[in-house]
Amino acid sequence: MTAKLSPTQMAWRAAQDIEDGAYVNLGIGFPEMVAKFQPPGKQAIFHTENGILGFGEAPKPGEEDWDLINAGKKAVTIKPGTAFFHHADSFAMVRGGHLDVAILGAYEVAETGDLANWSTGPKGVPAVGGAMDLVHGAKRVAVITDHVTKDGKPKLLQRCSLPLTGVGCVTRVYSSLAVIDIQDGHFVLREKLPGLGLDDLQALTGATLHVEGDIGDLNVPEL
């Protein structure tokens, strides 16, 4: 078994929780992969901030139409039932609470539900895009993230140290080691990799992992 899930595997796991008919926004980068792993019989409708609802997969190379891109500026396709709209209507969908799920990346997540995913500090060029809107719009805001940084430091913390994207907004974390809910200011462990001890997981986590009932096995296929 894997020592930790790959981003693809985290995306797969996140995809399992998306209800049939859900309206979903997938953040730029890893979260975009979630669309590929929808379970059979479950058909979500994907929203992209730049004004498309119900877009389809990437076109074949060479068949791109650069007027038909997603928020990550990647070419997509239309499907029967696609709709186009302008940016104000698009963020009315977001801010107005019409999305069921938004899945984003994270630098840090706090047990309060705070998220930091837009700025690593004063160096470099700051860029926020639609992240600050998405965290306040969707009924369920989930995060896909490595459980720890490249240096092995926890990314799930009591409080974020980096500039916040949103306050108290994240409700579920799909990490490379576990599935964790955020409830009432606590991390609640739902699933962990089968071979990983609770103490070991806690040692890699910057805030207390609460347990309510059974902890499921985080079983993800090789992908």
């Binding site: 409708i45 929203h47 709709a83 104000a88 009315a92 107005g96 019409h98 999305l99």
Partner: protein, 244 residues
Amino acid sequence: MDKTIPDLATAVAGIEDGMVVMIGGFGGSGAPIELIHALIDRFRATGHPKDLTVVNNNAGNGHVGLAALIEQGMVKKLICSFPRSADPVVFTELYQAGKIELELVPQGTLAERIRAGGAGIPAFYTPTSFGTDLAKGKPVEEFEGRSYVRERWLKADVALVKAHLGDRLGNLTYRMAARNFNPLMCMAAAKTIVQVSQIVEPGAIDPETVVTPGIFVQGVVQVANPAQEEDLNRAKAVYPEVAQ
């Protein structure tokens, strides 16, 4: 995903006492007459829903549609811009008898409040109504030397909407000026029920011409050849029809 609803009775089944119900239309254009009449049928069969707060630009005309809903005594409060119309007998009598509440809102403010409800904007500033009786009690603020009134969003439990084409994902088009408040109300209600003249397959509506994307719609019911309030009133129609 299939948002189609088989019949009008099912479409209005979830509307309960005391709910805030937005009803599309400007006068008769875009008014979902058949949905309103289905709601009246339910009330007459079950005694519910009652004590509704209705949001509409007007107060109905004659004895059909919104006017009939009011006439049945189902409406506790009306939020609208223009309850004075050609033949608003029903509302006028109840209002003057103190039997129905009225919140009068300037038309553009009404539209913007509904849009704000749908767009997650809890409050906004508008020059409209500054210095008038309709601004009483509302916060006022100056921006660049001009005074503005703060208005709150308006949301609903249910919106009853009339559109032209609809697919089973809820994508909608409208017909001419029957568009009016309908697309805004779709956005602002927890549950939006739409009567369309025709249900079409997804893809039959050009993605460029979708006016209301399906995300704002929870149910679509087909009413081919919908009635026009104006035609009904010219024919002096009354709903429900009185037994002879």
